[in-house]
Symmetry: C2
Amino acid sequence: MDIQLKRGLLDACVLAAIKDEDSYGYQIIKDMKPYLELSESTLYTILKRLETAGMLTVKSVEHEGRLRKYYHITRQGLGRIEEFKEDWKEIESIYRFITREDARNE
Amino acid sequence: MDIQLKRGLLDACVLAAIKDEDSYGYQIIKDMKPYLELSESTLYTILKRLETAGMLTVKSVEHEGRLRKYYHITRQGLGRIEEFKEDWKEIESIYRFITREDARNE
DNA sequence: TGGTATACATCGTAACGCGAAGTATATCGC
DNA sequence: GCGATATACTTCGCGTTACGATGTATACCA
């Protein structure tokens, strides 16, 4: 898929991946894979950005000797998803503009 | 609208604006305005990029003493729009992932 | 004469995705 | 026992891109 197109979906998609249940990096990538593939470097950059923006909180948990960072969505993060839904209406209108048939033949 | 979301639509949208009839910068901005607003600097950057990529061709025409650059879509440009349509299927699937109801309550 | 519309161009900046490389542990096949 | 693979997170640098600011130039209207 076109990278530019992907960009606009990434933040909302990551937030959606943790919205029902706290999750961690590796798991998020696996959950998103059927819909949208992203590299680790991309995900961790996004998670850091969303944390800074107050969209999620982080909690480190010991798991089999290793550190695991669990991400929890905040009210702001849920709001971000709602914003995406609002934007979606505009996107659909743009989609119709792009895919419309030749206006001269209508 | 979210800038990142806009990014993925811009190229296809500009191509769609000239696909039925050759057009020029100022006119393209006006045609797109109801759907997607963009600044002149952004549009001319995009047009230059699409030209380099072979998606459109340019023809300078004298108009009331001033130079006007008409843009004409190529077969490649039309192909780019078709690609967008293909990507759209994936985007819809991602949209459903983002807006799905809590899986634990289903 | 000043404001607005038309029309295109260039520069610098900041945001962002991502490949590459690194660190570290656990598990599994040979 | 040892290499491969999976898990898990981090950092760096690069290239692409949208856009504000600014500039140039003409036409028209009040």
